[in-house]
């Protein structure tokens, strides 16, 4: 996860009060494992009870045989201790095997749900939501639930059992200590909460200052060429010094919070132990209590009071994880905008006819702003259409609607005469080929990337794909041909090479509709010319929409659609449009001048 994502997360990192509904949903992921989980927690309780038997056994030994130096007698108690120890270790093995497994399964289910849901969401969601945020949800938030789901139930059982059993035993066995212990528990809890109020913001500052460092470092490394071109290395290091200074102050603030909290708590616990010791001592002198019993009581006190510290930590973790869970559920509750209606069916092989009927469209459904106004056109199967206009005129919006990344607010789109909503979107997408200006490749080999569109593509088909485009020369330049590793997001290839692979990929999808959005912008002129020639030869196979700024790409189109401010203002062939002396002619003149 990049530093930006970290910062994005930090901005949302709020202390959300625990909501019962959220916890209900979290617990639902544990529900399928109810049986094993309950067994595991029961074992944990048994373990805790057995832990309290320890001090009793020690007391028996001290009060009895040990005090008199009876080796045989002591041995009896020692063996009992060892026996219980072995037993405890054994049941813990079973318990941990169960509980950790449940944790892994639950997190697996959440991860899978999140990913599956992301696949159902439309492009609108991805436009609206920064990548960093999505990743923070699907990755970091799930991770922060992971620890809680794996350990939360066990820790809680452990602490509550100790608290209850140890306190119960002290209260029953030594009623004279009861008021102190019962008064101590809420007091200690208050101390804990109080310090968390100080500690939580302190640690938040630590995270924030750390995120600032990560962001600075990551950005300077991505832009290292700029840093070097301006010889700013020393200055950037100096900026880092400033950020690190703030980080240091925050860390020290956090350390002071911890350094104050733990001693205060342990001071309070030890004070109660001392009070108990003095009170107990009077009873020992009076003969009402044996020394061994006092040792046991002191031992138990430690066991009864120390879970408070852990409970505070757990409570905090629940707050953080609860907030994370809430964000995850928010993602899962985002309804996919583009859901096929009941009338949607697989249209079979499309011929590639596309019709826009009074289509208006805006990216933000909540705003009245429209990127396209009342656009109507009809494209026959196998035609090549060029979309022309200034930046922001609406060309890409048309392409996005043809590819059905979005649904228009008004009007109808028809494929082969069928209304879009009756065409299953998966079937349509499987027949759409698209090459974007920003070419996106997955990590892996060239062949693996081509197989992305159809897993059964053979090497021969892949080679034929390059040949059909006239780009076998480019493939020959790759170090290992089709087996060349393209690197993370294709980083091992140049921008032009990436675009060519994307082009081949789109053609291998055997599309009925091919969309080229600035698809050759990074390819040099000669290669572009080759690709265009090849495309001309192939163009009868599919309907092609081309967005380009270079007129060489546009000239031979069957139809040219000229867009201006979201309206279709002119259409026709090149020569006719130039002769008409309208918007197209002006664009043309602007380019040529």
């Amino acid at each position: 996860m990049s530093a930006y994502d970290e910062m994005a997360l930090e901005e949302e990192f709020a202390r959300v009060p625990l909501r019962r509904k959220t916890w209900g949903r979290i617990l639902r992921y544990l529900a399928p494992h109810k049986g094993p989980l309950l067994v595991g927690l029961a074992i944990e309780m048994v373990w805790c009870v057995l832990m309290l038997v320890d001090p009793w056994l020690v007391k028996q030994a001290i009060d009895g045989p040990l005090a008199t130096g009876d080796i045989g007698g002591t041995l009896k108690w020692v063996l009992a201790l060892v026996g219980i120890l072995v037993f405890r270790a054994t049941i813990t093995v079973f318990e941990l095997r169960i509980t950790t497994r449940v944790g892994v399964e639950a997190v697996h289910a959440i991860r899978k749900d999140v990913f599956d849901h992301l696949q159902r969401l439309s492009m609108r969601y991805f436009d609206r939501t920064k990548q960093g945020r999505i990743l923070a949800r699907a990755d970091r938030d799930v991770e922060s639930l992971e620890h809680l789901l794996s350990w939360g139930p066990v820790s809680l059982t452990n602490m509550v059992s100790f608290l209850l059993f140890a306190t119960g035993r002290i209260v029953l066995q030594h009623p004279f200590l009861a008021p102190y212990v019962l008064a101590a528990l809420p007091t200690l809890w208050l101390v804990t909460r109080l310090f968390e109020r100080v500690g939580f913001p302190a640690y938040r500052r630590v995270r924030e200052t750390h995120s600032a460092i990560s962001a600075h470092v990551a950005e300077r490394i991505s832009g290292v060429r700029v840093v070097k071109a301006f010889s700013a290395e020393a200055r950037e290091t100096h900026v880092l010094d400033g950020l690190q200074g703030a980080y240091r102050r925050a860390v020290l603030g956090g350390a002071k919070a911890t350094g104050g909290y733990i001693p205060t708590l342990s001071l309070a616990i030890q004070a109660i132990v001392l009070i108990s010791l003095v009170l107990g001592a009077r009873r020992v002198l009076g003969g009402e209590l044996t020394t061994g019993a006092l040792v046991e009581a002191v031992w138990l006190l430690g066991a009864a009071l120390s879970p408070i510290e852990g409970l505070g930590g757990l409570y905090n973790e629940c707050l953080v994880a609860g907030a994370a869970a809430e964000r995850i559920f928010l993602l899962l509750d985002t309804t996919p905008e583009l859901r096929d209606g009941p009338e949607a069916t697989d249209p079979g092989r499309l011929r590639g006819e596309v019709e826009f009927d009074r289509v208006s469209f805006g990216y933000d459904p909540s705003s009245p702003t429209r990127q396209l106004h009342d656009v109507s056109f009809h494209v026959r199967a196998g035609e090549r259409v060029a979309l022309v206009g200034h930046t922001g005129a609406g060309k890409t919006s048309v392409a996005n609607l043809v590819a059905r990344f979005y649904e228009p607010q008004e009007g109808t789109i028809r494929y082969d005469g069928r209304e879009a909503r009756t065409v299953a979107s998966a079937a349509l997408h499987a027949q759409t080929g698209i090459v974007l200006q920003e070419s996106f490749l997955f990590g892996g080999t060239v062949l693996e990337n081509l197989r992305f569109v159809r897993p059964d593509i053979t090497e021969a088909e892949a080679l034929e794909g390059f040949r059909a485009l006239g780009c076998e020369g480019v493939l020959a330049g790759f170090s290992a041909g089709l087996a060349t590793d393209v690197g993370e997001r294709g980083a091992n290839l140049s921008e032009g090479e990436r675009q060519i692979v994307c082009f081949v990929r789109a053609l291998l999808a055997r599309p009925s509709i091919l969309i080229l959005d600035e698809a050759t912008s990074a390819v040099d002129t000669q290669t572009e010319a080759t690709i265009l020639r090849a495309l001309n030869a192939l163009s009868a196979r599919q309907t092609t929409f081309v967005i380009a700024h270079r007129l060489s790409t546009i000239r031979d189109a069957d139809q040219i659609f000229v867009f201006d401010h979201g309206r279709l203002v002119e259409r026709g062939r090149h020569d006719a449009l130039v002769a008409a002396n309208g918007a197209y002619a002006r664009l043309y003149a602007e380019y040529g001048r």
Partner: protein, 603 residues
């Protein structure tokens, strides 16, 4: 194929980690603050001593009770004395905790910051060859992540081990001091535990590494899916993506389950074995008392029991520490690998000075190779007089970008030399060279800062008027003024999004602020539309006024206005001349020109 993929410079990072050497090197990082480190160590000793004394005092108090059990009367003075001492010890322990926590946090923070600073400064100064080899960013990202793991060594590992060692040694010494059998019992139990932890920890760390690779694959699948959301939808591959991700997730979860089964079996055994110290001390105590029965000996046994419990609680942390320590050392070894690279520019001892004005640029027989034997540039000789302009035209891969990257010394030629106003580039101070040569990259990269800060990147003290003047020259002032906060608008990854053309204009303004005598445009208009390109050229030609200008492009329209144009083919200058001359003399130039005017655009 790009130089990164062609060159074998990426070092394998999976070399075995020399744990002890790296640990030693990490410890030596404390050397500059050794005085404070010793102080912290002293505080730890105090804290441990008080920690061990507390239960002993408690036991003494109880011992007094044992003697007076059932005898009635007021509390014996001796008891009151021990109880008070116990209270004092508790107080001291708390104070020492506070002192230790803050002092060690400050100490480890300083050591951590120093290491991060050194790493960052190193990465910034490492030469382009290194950055090329690590272009995918993976190695860099990893060394940053590694830094975050390595810092745990200074924070937790060092002090955690210190505390455990002090405590275990303290308690063991106490046990031996009481009676050697107690000592032997302690050594046996603690020794077994440590061996168990070492065995289990090493195994777990191994399994953990395997799983973290699986986890990386899960994360990569997720990141790619989100970044390529449009492509996934365009080809309707959602179902396959679900399957691909599911398969990777299952691999990871399965591995994770295997690992947890292993440690669910081993850790309880190791952890519980520490508890054996209680029965062991009890048993030894019985023999001790039987030898010469006395209340004092019972008291000593009880005291040891309490002290052992303390040590045991700390030993429970050992597994965590061991795992964290192994991870920190493995990560640190990769950080050190970067720190040990020495391919940085060494500034000349006595840098030469440039004349006050100028810009005469001369390349003499310059050759360059990314990998030995594969020359990208072959004996390039060019001359641009001060204030003149030179276009460099060629196909993808001809060596254009490489050529201009030699001028700011991103790389040094493998043969030949480059002179600026008669001074070899290598004789100039890096800062002087950066001020003299302004480069506009093909990819307009802006930092997350305001427009003004981005423009003034090379001269942070530049007054606002100069920033605006440069923006005007670069045809950027108009759109900047229309931004919500004008020149104070935040741009870059965390700010408002600008179009490619807008970003490019800002980078041109950024180059101008330095008032460089040589200005280089590296295919700066490649990814903008024709209209924007026209705007940009307005800016470029205005900026070029009175400066030596180099313009790299694949398009004739971008270079035809230059005084002269050099045609670069396979690393060799095949022709130099004006537009009209080249139409006659260079077949390649002609071909490119004809392709671009295919539509018959008026010239």
């Amino acid at each position: 194929m790009s130089p990164a993929a062609a060159s074998p410079a990426v070092a394998p990072t999976s070399a075995p980690v020399k744990t002890w050497a790296v640990t030693g090197r990490l410890l030596r990082r404390f050397a500059p603050v050794r005085g404070r480190a010793l102080l912290v160590l002293g505080l730890y000793v105090v804290r441990t001593a008080v920690g061990v004394a507390t239960p002993m005092l408690l036991a003494r108090a109880i011992g007094v009770l044992l003697e007076h059990e059932g005898k009635g009367g007021p509390l014996p003075d001796e008891f009151v004395w021990y109880a008070t001492l116990n209270g004092v010890a508790v107080l001291l322990r708390c104070l020492s905790f506070l002192a230790v926590t803050t002092a060690s946090a400050a100490l480890s923070q300083d050591v951590e910051n120093a290491l991060r600073r050194e790493l960052f400064a190193k990465v910034m100064t490492l030469r382009f060859r290194w950055h090329d080899a690590n272009r995918s960013g993976k190695t860099i990202a990893r060394s940053l992540r590694d830094m975050e793991k390595a810092k745990q060594f200074f924070r937790e590992v060092v002090f955690g081990y210190t505390e455990i060692v002090l405590l275990v040694v303290g308690v063991t010494v106490l046990a031996f001091a009481t009676w050697w059998t107690f000592g032997v019992a302690a050594v046996l139990v603690f020794g077994t535990t440590c061996l168990g932890v070492a065995f289990a920890g090493t195994r777990i760390a191994q399994m953990d590494r395997a799983i973290s690779d699986d986890y990386d694959r899960v994360t990569t699948a997720l990141q790619e899916n989100v970044a390529g959301a449009r492509v996934v939808r365009a080809f309707g591959r959602e179902a396959d993506e679900v399957e691909r991700f599911g398969a990777r997730l299952t691999t990871y979860s399965t591995g994770w389950k295997g690992l947890s089964r292993f440690w669910a079996t081993v850790l309880p055994v190791v952890n519980h074995s520490t508890w054996l110290v209680v029965p062991a001390v009890l048993m030894a105590g019985a023999v001790y008392v039987a030898d010469a029965p006395s209340a004092a000996r019972v008291t000593e046994t009880v005291g040891l029991l309490f002290a052992m419990r303390l040590a045991r609680d700390f030993l429970r942390q050992l597994t965590r520490l061991l795992l964290m320590g192994q991870e920190a050392v493995a990560s640190a070894s990769r950080v050190f690998e970067v720190l040990d690279r020495d391919d940085v520019i060494v500034p000349p001892a006595r840098p030469a000075a440039l004349p006050a004005t100028g810009g005469d640029l001369r390349l003499e027989g310059v050759s360059f190779a990314y990998a030995p034997g594969r020359d990208v540039l072959k004996g390039v000789s060019l001359h641009v007089p001060a204030g003149g302009s030179l276009g460099i035209l060629g196909r993808t891969g001809a060596g254009k970008t490489t050529l201009v990257h030699l001028l700011p010394r991103f790389y040094d030629p493998t043969a030949g030399r480059i002179l600026l106003d008669g001074v070899p580039l290598a004789d100039l101070a890096p800062e002087a060279l950066a001020a003299a040569v302004g480069l506009v990259f093909q990819e307009p990269y802006l930092f997350s800062a305001t427009v003004a800060q981005n423009i003034a990147y090379g001269a942070p003290d530049a007054p606002r008027e100069r920033i605006e003047a440069c923006a005007r020259l670069a045809a950027a002032h108009e759109f900047v003024s229309a931004l919500p906060k004008g020149y104070d608008t935040l741009v870059g990854e965390r700010g408002v999004s600008l179009s490619g053309g807008q970003r490019q204009r800002l980078t041109i303004a950024r180059a101008l602020v330095m008032e460089p005598r040589v200005l280089i445009f590296d295919d700066a208009t490649a990814s903008v539309d024709a209209i924007t390109e026209k705007d940009l050229f307005r800016g470029i030609r205005a900026a070029a006024q009175g400066r030596t200008t180099l313009v790299v492009s694949q398009r004739v329209t971008s270079v035809r206005w230059c005084d002269r144009i050099a045609v670069l083919e396979d690393g060799v200058v095949s022709a130099v001349g004006t537009h009209d001359e080249l139409l006659g003399s260079s077949p390649l130039y002609r071909e490119v020109f004809e392709h671009q005017t295919l539509v018959g655009a008026p010239s």
